[in-house]
Amino acid sequence: MATRTDEYKNSGDKMSDPIWIVRDYERCTGCQRCELACSIHHDGWMWPEASRVRVFMPFPGVEVPHLCAQCDDYPCVESCPVDALSVDEKTTAVIVDREACTSCGLCIKACPGDVPTLHPGDNKANICDLCDGDPECVKVCHEAKYDALRLVHESMSKNRKLFARDPIDVAKDIAVKLFGEKGEEVI
């Protein structure tokens, strides 16, 4: 069941189990299995660029899993001129109506973290849908004992939007944490 943002905001206790994916950047090994699992689930085959989570690697060792942060105000959903985006009541994920999407790319521009892409296959807006509550990326990451992506049951918070950041900006911070002063030069 998907509704529009305002409906979602007014939904109150209808929000049964809001979930969110925590990203622990330093634990990411860069194996990209999250991308493989995501694309196998959504597209039927291994297709990293079609994945809703993509690991950026601007410098070796600095790996940034990049995916929808589910901002509390959903700027992408608001920006869609044809109402192709909506918020899933149960999970708080952004749901794309691929039939309605016109590939205009306004959702990408609206996103403070530059997260959405146009799917390399059908050219439609491509955003994490939390696999209807059981994200494949989280499963394979946990299975591998990395836990760079973890699922938390956590109600909506303004903090989520702080994760909607340019992946290269995130990478610069991680680089400093890993490499000290040298980290300031590598990206």
Binding site: T29, G30, C31, R33, E49, P60, G61, V186
Partner: protein
């Protein structure tokens, strides 16, 4: 088309500045698979007739970066760099883990074949739109870190400019060379991700000889379709489950072996292999892990083994040095073999070697060889411009630069250990070969044979078509065909290995070939090895190996071990000779290891017969 292949190769002629797509027929693909096997076939078909006249560094040589049908789809994606080796004068399948490999396939290419020589430095960019030759004069001369930093930004910027509306572009996968490759240091590596190298064979020098700084690939396509996708998905999970259960190896990688290979098995090079035993706990894993590892689980595409760990030195005189753990090979070659027994100094040396694009095993082997000549008074301070004492990381740093820039004695050492030994021997009137640790020009990996306690034995290197390559050693001429010969041709990582049956199920599900362990041990593997054997025997133009005489361990491997619990032991010469004879017989080669006419015909290598006939005389 068989599954697992993207379906075409990018054929680049740098002299004519031409780029085109080439298709290789299904029959050839099935016979040679990909990577190392296919590379040997392509180079034989294209330049085999004039093999002995073409130097590895001539524009006519072909630099090949090849994937295989397994690459990216099987865990642990790698690229295989090959062509005529300027070191062994045969062909070596030299692999490195890198995102470049799956990116290439996702851009629609199984490999890149580069011939000719560019008039000025260039790099090649491969995308879904095809290949493009681009100016690289601004990155020529730059070390690894700088090269990655500049290329990542530049490629992302230009892709964004081309297609700005599809969302944020990610970095390409890249292979590149450092100053060592640019200056055609004969044993230089093809590098990726600052510390990953296709080291054996000198393909970094081949890239340098073509004025080719790098190849970058970015694809938006999926990995190629396979024959039985549902089976592949199941097997994919199964192999990962196995990898994930290897807790100790995942935690330590090979980074704990810097102490144990010396202390336990007496097979770690110390001061240019003058010893193979040490008990220096300062080289133990915890000294690296607790002080320097900043990322303890680091992996490449589709890998859960994560044997890689990232080290960084954050203070002191080597502040800012970044490398992998280093792995065992570089702990040995950038540590103990320099007489260095300090984790920080070893990390520093690894970072220097990687940044310069020296091959971490082969370059330092030559450096330690030079240090031993200095120890023996054959080379003097004025040859280097400085003293070179064992354990002096500053001196070895200077030496690494000297060789990379081909300055002073570095110009001769840049020819690799074997050729340098020959030249310095002539210059000084002293036989330097006893100190040159190589087989067929390929400097030997950091596993000795004298104690017989390691996985490397009598004919491991002596009979191998890839000489001193520790990743692909000779054993019985049968079982090994489904080992490195297969993984280098399917092009995936040996460390993501699984039981052979499981790997072959995986390979069959990907390709749809009627293949089996048996067919690989009897046909495909021997076909690849026999072709490689023929090419390394043809050799030339500067060096031609003599069968039997050069199918042997270096003199040092027959000296008794001077220290440690295995003191006095050495490689058994009689065993080498008998096992070598058996090895040749198993593969259908004659007593000198020249493939017989019958064998060549049986393996569909009939066109190799005329050149082998000449060798038999």
């Amino acid at each position: 088309m068989p599954g697992g292949y993207a379906g075409k190769f990018l054929d680049v002629d740098l002299s004519r500045e031409k780029v085109k797509d080439t298709v290789i027929d299904d029959e050839t693909l099935e016979a040679y698979f990909g990577g190392r096997g296919l590379g040997a076939k392509i180079i034989w078909d294209r330049i085999g007739k004039k093999w002995s006249k073409i130097d590895g560094l001539d524009p006519d040589n072909i630099f090949m970066a090849l994937t295989g049908p397994m690459t990216g789809i099987y865990p642990g994606g790698r690229i295989c760099c090959t062509g005529k080796s300027p070191v062994s004068n045969g062909t070596v399948g030299s692999t490195a883990s890198t995102e470049f490999a799956p990116e290439l396939k996702m851009a629609g290419y199984d490999g890149v074949l580069v011939t000719g020589k560019a008039s000025s430095p260039v790099y090649i960019l491969v995308t879904d739109d095809g290949g493009e030759i681009r100016d690289a004069s601004h990155i020529w001369g730059k070390v690894g870190e700088e090269t990655i930093k500049i290329l990542n930004k530049e490629v992302v910027d230009s892709l964004t400019e081309k297609k700005p509306n599809i969302g944020r572009w990610r970095e390409p996968g890249t292979i590149y060379i450092g100053p060592a490759g640019e200056n055609m240091v004969r044993n230089a590596a093809v590098m990726s991700k600052i510390c990953h190298a296709a080291g054996y064979g000198g393909y970094g020098a081949v890239m340098g000889s073509k004025n080719l700084k790098a190849i970058a690939a970015k694809g938006r396509g999926s990995l190629p379709e396979v024959f039985a996708p549902e089976a592949v998905k199941l097997l994919w999970k199964k192999v990962h489950e196995r990898s994930i259960s290897r807790d100790a190896f995942r935690r330590m990688g090979t980074g704990y072996a810097g102490w144990s290979v010396g202390a336990n098995t007496s097979s770690e090079p110390v001061r240019n292999w003058q010893e193979e035993w040490h008990d220096e706990r300062s080289m133990g894993g915890p000294m690296f892990e607790t002080r320097y590892w900043v990322k303890k689980y680091w992996a490449d595409f589709n890998c859960t083994v994560s044997c890689m760990k990232i080290s960084c030195i954050k203070s002191g005189k080597w502040k800012g040095d970044i490398t992998d753990m280093p792995d065992y090979e570089l702990e040995a070659y950038c540590g103990t073999n320099f007489g260095i027994f300090d984790a920080g100094d070893t990390i520093h040396m690894s970072a220097v070697i990687d940044n310069l694009g020296h091959s971490g095993i082969n370059g330092p082997n030559t450096m330690a060889f030079a240090a031993e000549l200095y120890q023996r008074g054959i080379l003097k301070e004025e040859d280097f411009g400085f003293k070179i004492e064992w354990g002096d990381a500053e001196a070895f740093t200077k030496l690494a630069w000297l060789i990379a820039k081909r300055e002073k004695i570095g110009d001769i050492l840049a020819e690799g250990t074997y050729r340098a030994a020959k030249k310095i021997g002539e210059m000084r009137g002293v036989d330097c070969m006893p100190y040159a640790v190589h087989v067929k020009g390929i400097e030997i990996g950091a596993h000795g044979t004298r104690s017989d306690e390691d996985y490397t034995h009598d004919i491991s290197y002596a009979a191998s078509v890839q000489g001193g390559d520790h990743t692909s050693t000779a054993s019985d001429g049968f079982r090994e065909m489904t080992g490195a010969v297969f993984s280098d041709s399917g092009v995936y990582c040996n460390f993501c290995s699984a039981p052979t049956e499981l790997i072959f199920d995986y390979a069959k599900a990907i390709t749809g070939y009627h293949m089996s362990i048996d067919s690989w041990r009897r046909w495909n593997g021997p076909r690849i090895i026999t072709l490689q054997r023929a090419l390394v025997l043809l050799g030339g133009p500067d060096v031609t190996w003599e069968p039997i005489k050069d199918d042997d361990n270096p003199p040092r491997f027959y000296e008794p071990l001077p220290s440690g619990p295995h003191k006095g032991r050495t490689t058994d010469r009689a065993l080498v000779e008998s096992k070598r004879a058996t090895y040749y017989e198993t593969l259908g080669w004659d007593q000198r290891g020249i493939p017989t006419k019958e064998t060549l015909n049986r393996l569909d290598l009939g066109d190799v017969e005329p050149s082998m006939k000449k060798l038999r005389k």
